[in-house]
Amino acid sequence: MELERSGNVVTIKGNIKSVEDSALIKDAIKKIKGEGARNLELRIVDSFSMTSTVIGNLMKLVHHDKVQLAMIVGDERLYELLDELNLVQDFNVRQGRR
C-alpha cells in the first residue's frame, strides 16, 4: 500500500489489509489532525477493503474530533462494505473512477 499526502488530501493506492497499512493511515490522519485541520479528503484509489482499526480511527475523527471527512473510493467492493456497515453517510463516501 502506498500513501501520498497533499495538504488535507490523502491518496491511498493498493489494498488496506494489514497491520502495517492500518498504522500508516493512522499516522497520516494523526499528523493532519495535529496540524489543526478541520477537513480531510481520503482518496482510496483501488483498495477492496479497509481494516476495522482504520474505520475506528475515522469514526473518532468524524464524531469526536468533528473533522469533516470526504472519501472517494474506486473499488465497488469497498463501497459495499462501507454501505453494509452503514458508514457511507458518516464518512461522506462517493464512488469515484479508479
Binding site: K17, T51, M59, L85
Partner: protein, 565 residues
C-alpha cells in the same frame, strides 16, 4: 324557465367582459344576486388582467370588442388556465369563429340579442357542471387522503409483523459452535429470505439444556396471511416446547412430535397442509433423530465428499395426521447436512428448469452455506415470482485436514503481521490462489489476530478500547499492555479438500476468557470499535466462536482453487 340560478352559484366568481355599458349593467343586475362576486371588464385586455387577478370560476364574454376580441382573450386565458368554462355572447357566429371557439373549448354560446332566460339557463348549466366537478374533486382528494392513511397504517402493521417474525425466530447457535464429547465441533448456519414480510417459511435452532440441539423447519403450503399465521403458530409452539415443557419435564423426541401433531390438528384448516421437520442433534450419541414431513430431501455429505439424499419419511402434515415415522441418522463420518424448503428447489433456473436439478451438484462443490448461496444466486433466473426460501446447514467444523499450518506468534502487532504473512506464503505454496482471495485472507487474518490480541490476551473490552481511541492513546496503551502480557495466541490454518472446492478454516485461539456476548452484536451507530467481526464476516464465508478461552473459527471456500485430487 324561472329566472333563478342554482344556489351553488353563490360560491362562485364570474368574470363579465362586455364593452357595451348597457348590456354590462343589465348582466350585473341580473346575476349580481346569484354569484358570490362579479368581476367586470370593458374589453379583452382588461378581461385578461381581471382573469389573472381574480381567477374566476366562469368567464362570460362578448366577442366583438375594441382592442382584444373575446376569442383572442380566451386564447390567452387558455395558456394560463385550460379548464375555466367560457360563455361567449355574440351576434355574428361565422364558420371560422365557430371552429376557433370549439378549439378553445368555449362551453356555451349565447346569440345576441338575448333575453334574461337564455343567459340564466346557460349559466345555470355551467354552475351545476362545476358543482359536480368540485364534488368529484373533493371526493377524489378524500379518497387519496384515506389511501394515504391506510398505506401508512398498513406499513406500520407490516413493520410490527416483521418485528414479531424476527422475535419468534430463534437461532441459539448463531456464530456459536457446539462440541461433542470427542471434542469435535459443529455449527449451524441458516439462510432465510422471505418473499413478503408475512412469510410461510420459519425455523428455530434451539440449544437444549442437556446439550442437544433441536432444529425445526417449516414451510406452510400456499401463501399469504393464512400460511404465515400457521408458520408463526407452529414456530411459537416449538419455542414453547423448548422453553417450558422441555425444561420442566424433559422429553423424548417422539413425545415432541406427538405434542406437535396434536397442536397443529387444532390449528390447521380442513384443506391446509404443511411441510416441516424436526431434527434433534445428539452429539453425545453422534446421531440425529429426524421426523420430516414432505420437506425436500435432506442432503448428506460424508467426510470423503460423497453426497446422498435422505428423503422425508412422512407425508405433509394435515389436521388429520395421527402418526409419524421417526428415523435416526448417524453422524459418524458425516461432514455436513443441508435442509431446504421448496422455495429453493423450485426456484426457476435459466433454461426453464428448476434449481432441484442443480442442488446436488452445487452442494458437492460448496463446503459452506455462503458458497452454496453464491452458486444458487448465480443460477436462478427470473426472481420476480420467488417463493420464501430457507436453507439450513449443519456442519462439522473439525474436518480431517489435507494440509495444516500452526504457529504461536509473539504478542505484538508486528509479530502478528509476520505470522499472517508466513501462513499465507505457505498456503500459497500449497494451493494456487487468486490474488483477490489472498488479499481477502490477509485482511481476515489481520482482523482475527488483532481481535485475539486486544480482546483476548490484553483483556481490552469494547469500552476501554473506545475510550483509548477517543483519547488518542490507544497505540501507547497497546504497546504498554503487550510488554507486560503473558498470554498466548495460536494461529491454525487447515484445508479440507473433500468437497469439490477446498475449504480453508482459520482458527485463532487466545488465552483470554473468550469473546463477551456483546461482541456478536452490532456496535452503536457512532462507535469507534466493534466492526472487526463484521469485516471478517463480509470477506469470508462466516465465523464461529468456540471455547474454552477465546477461539474464532473462520471458514472460507477457496473458489476456483484446486487442491489434492
Amino acid at each position: 324557465m324561472p329566472l333563478s340560478l342554482s344556489p351553488h352559484a353563490g360560491q362562485l366568481t364570474l368574470l363579465l367582459v362586455e364593452d357595451d355599458p348597457y348590456l354590462s349593467e343589465f348582466a350585473q343586475t341580473l346575476l349580481g344576486l346569484h354569484f358570490k362576486r362579479i368581476a367586470v371588464a370593458k374589453d379583452g385586455i382588461e378581461g385578461l388582467c381581471r382573469f389573472i387577478e381574480c381567477t374566476p370560476d366562469i368567464v362570460l364574454t362578448d366577442q366583438v370588442m375594441p382592442g382584444l376580441r373575446g376569442l383572442d382573450m380566451v386564447r390567452k386565458i387558455r395558456k394560463v388556465n385550460p379548464r375555466t368554462p367560457v360563455v361567449l355572447m355574440t351576434g355574428n357566429l361565422d364558420h371560422t369563429m365557430l371552429v376557433d371557439a370549439i378549439n378553445l373549448e368555449v362551453a356555451k354560446f349565447i346569440p345576441k340579442p338575448f333575453g334574461p332566460d337564455l343567459l340564466v339557463q346557460a349559466l345555470d348549466e355551467l354552475v351545476r357542471r362545476l358543482l359536480g366537478e368540485k364534488l368529484l374533486e373533493q371526493h377524489r382528494l378524500q379518497e387519496i387522503e384515506l389511501l394515504r392513511y391506510r398505506d401508512s397504517y398498513h406499513c406500520m402493521q407490516q413493520e410490527a409483523a416483521l418485528r414479531k417474525e424476527h422475535h419468534l425466530v430463534r437461532h441459539d447457535l448463531r456464530h456459536l459452535s457446539i462440541t461433542s464429547p470427542e471434542g469435535i465441533r459443529w455449527g449451524v448456519e441458516v439462510s432465510h429470505s422471505a418473499r413478503d414480510i408475512m412469510c410461510g417459511d420459519g425455523y428455530a435452532v434451539r440449544h437444549l439444556p442437556d446439550g442437544r440441539v433441536l432444529i425445526f423447519l417449516i414451510d406452510s403450503m400456499g401463501s399469504g396471511l393464512s400460511a404465515s399465521l400457521t408458520t408463526l403458530l407452529a414456530t411459537s409452539f416449538c419455542n414453547f416446547i423448548v422453553e417450558h415443557l422441555y425444561q420442566c419435564c424433559g422429553m423424548r423426541f417422539q413425545k415432541i412430535i406427538d405434542l406437535f401433531l396434536s397442536y397443529v390438528a387444532g390449528v390447521l384448516l380442513d384443506d391446509e397442509a404443511i411441510s416441516c421437520g424436526f431434527f434433534l442433534v445428539d452429539l453425545d450419541g453422534t446421531f440425529m433423530e429426524t421426523a420430516a414431513f414432505a420437506l425436500p430431501p435432506l442432503l448428506v455429505r460424508d467426510l470423503s465428499g460423497a453426497v446422498r439424499f435422505e428423503r422425508s419419511t412422512n407425508p405433509p402434515l394435515s389436521r388429520y395426521s395421527l402418526h409419524s415415522k421417526v428415523s435416526r441418522l448417524s453422524l459418524d463420518g458425516v461432514a455436513d447436512l443441508l435442509l431446504v424448503t421448496d422455495g429453493v428447489t423450485d426456484a426457476p433456473v435459466t433454461g426453464n428448469t428448476s434449481y432441484k436439478q442443480h442442488l446436488r451438484e452445487d452442494f458437492q462443490a460448496s463446503p459452506t452455506l455462503a458458497s452454496l448461496s453464491r452458486r444458487f444466486h448465480a443460477r436462478i433466473a427470473d426472481d420476480q415470482e420467488r417463493d420464501d426460501r430457507t436453507m439450513l446447514h449443519l456442519r462439522r467444523l473439525d474436518l480431517p485436514p489435507a494440509w495444516s499450518f500452526s504457529c504461536t506468534p509473539p504478542l505484538s502487532l508486528n509479530g502478528l503481521n509476520a505470522a499472517a504473512e508466513e501462513a499465507l506464503a505457505l498456503l500459497k505454496a500449497e494451493v494456487p490462489l487468486q490474488a483477490k482471495v489472498i488479499d481477502e485472507l490477509e485482511l481476515v487474518l489481520t482482523e482475527a489476530l488483532t481481535n485475539a490480541l486486544e480482546h483476548g490476551c490484553l483483556g481490552l473490552g469494547r469500552e476501554a478500547k473506545s475510550l483509548a481511541i477517543k483519547e488518542g492513546d490507544y497505540d501507547e496503551l497497546l504497546t504498554a499492555r503487550c510488554a507486560g502480557a503473558h498470554g498466548r495466541i495460536q494461529l491454525i490454518l487447515t484445508l479440507w479438500s473433500a468437497a469439490e472446492q477446498p475449504l480453508l478454516q482459520v482458527e485463532v485461539r487466545d488465552s483470554g476468557p473468550g469473546l463477551p456476548a456483546d461482541f456478536l452484536r452490532s456496535p452503536g451507530p457512532n462507535a469507534v470499535s466493534g466492526r472487526g467481526l463484521k469485516v471478517i464476516e463480509h470477506y469470508s464465508d462466516g465465523f464461529y466462536t468456540s471455547g474454552p478461552g477465546g477461539c474464532l473459527i473462520i471458514s472460507k471456500t477457496l473458489e476456483g482453487a484446486c487442491h489434492g485430487t
